[in-house]
């Protein structure tokens, strides 16, 4: 089943979305002012590759559907199927 992650479209979040959409198997759509990142399997976003500051890194997630957050720390943000 496809799982989806919602991210509000504000300038701070764009670098993270740009990195995540480039991962294999991840697609990007838009629902209203939210980016929707969708994939069939696990997704891991490497914090350093995004270049965002700490406050943004720890608050960029807007909603979860079909996924749960397994890791969210200084190294990575990891989603696994629920």
């Amino acid at each position: 089943m496809t799982a989806r992650l919602f991210v509000l479209d504000v300038p701070e979040n764009v670098p993270i979305v740009e990195i995540a959409r480039g991962y294999p198997g991840v697609s990007l759509e838009k629902v209203g002012p939210y980016f929707v990142l969708a994939a069939e399997s696990n997704v891991t976003v490497d914090r350093r590759s995004t270049g965002v500051r700490h406050a943004v890194w720890y608050s960029w997630v807007g909603g979860l559907e079909g996924w749960q957050i397994e890791q969210w720390d200084r190294d990575a943000f990891r989603l696994v199927p629920r």
Partner: protein
């Protein structure tokens, strides 16, 4: 010395912030009873020292571009405050985590980085130097403690607020009120509920925004182009 050094540069309260153990009643009081719009929210994962819990930081418009803000910490037990004087969250025990103590503060607003740095300069030259300068999600702040020990912030916007942040704040608060009907609610439950509300309401919101943009002023009020 710069020409700013003699000027009064702050422009009122940006936000006054308090912890809450009852966001549902808080929303009922400020939004539903007083009619203060929810204008901003942060849903943040806990990190750093103190075993910081996941938290929601949410803001109500109190007019004049000023805001009252609350912190809700997932899983944090309310302190015993039935005895003693002072308002209920003023009696901090010695084991109270620092993040909680600091959640109660006033923040004054300045209009530019230049003005923020001017206050940094004044404080750094005083007995109360700046303890922290932090770029948050959309604001940059300096912090110190005043001579009474009150935590004190001066802040500036890093960019103008976007309309979608108001939508997002409202979805956050509605999701939070929903999930707190069940005990043991977590950030996970909040994000799952919020995804449902995004699916229900975000497209409509976007359509309304676009329709509004097509309105033109007329003597009888706005009309569609």
């Amino acid at each position: 010395m710069s020409e700013l050094s003699a000027k009064h540069l702050v422009s009122g309260v940006d936000h006054a912030a308090f912890p809450t153990f009852d966001p549902v009643a808080t929303v009922r009081f400020y939004r539903d009873t007083l009619g203060f719009p929810v204008v901003h929210s942060i849903c943040a994962a806990g990190w750093g020292p103190d075993d910081h819990p996941d938290f929601i930081h949410f803001f109500f418009d109190i007019g004049n571009d000023d805001r009252i803000a609350f912190f809700y910490y997932f899983g944090l037990e309310a302190p015993e405050t039935s005895r003693g004087k002072g308002d209920v969250y003023a009696r901090f025990g010695s084991d109270t985590p620092e993040f909680f103590v600091r959640s109660r503060h006033i923040a004054l607003h300045v209009n530019s980085e230049e003005h923020l740095l001017e206050y940094r300069r004044r404080l750094d030259a005083s007995d109360w130097p700046v303890e922290m300068q932090i770029q948050h999600e959309t604001i940059e702040s300096i912090y110190t403690h005043d001579p009474n020990g009150y935590f004190f912030e001066i802040t500036r916007a890093l960019r103008p607020v976007t309309p979608q942040e108001d939508l997002d704040a409202n979805l956050t608060i509605d999701a939070l009120v929903d999930i707190l009907q069940q005990p043991g609610a977590s950030m996970d439950a909040l994000l799952v509920r919020k995804a449902e509300l995004i699916m229900e309401r975000a497209e409509n919101w976007q359509d309304e925004q676009e329709a509004e943009r097509e309105l033109i002023p007329s003597p009888e009020g706005p009309v569609r182009r």
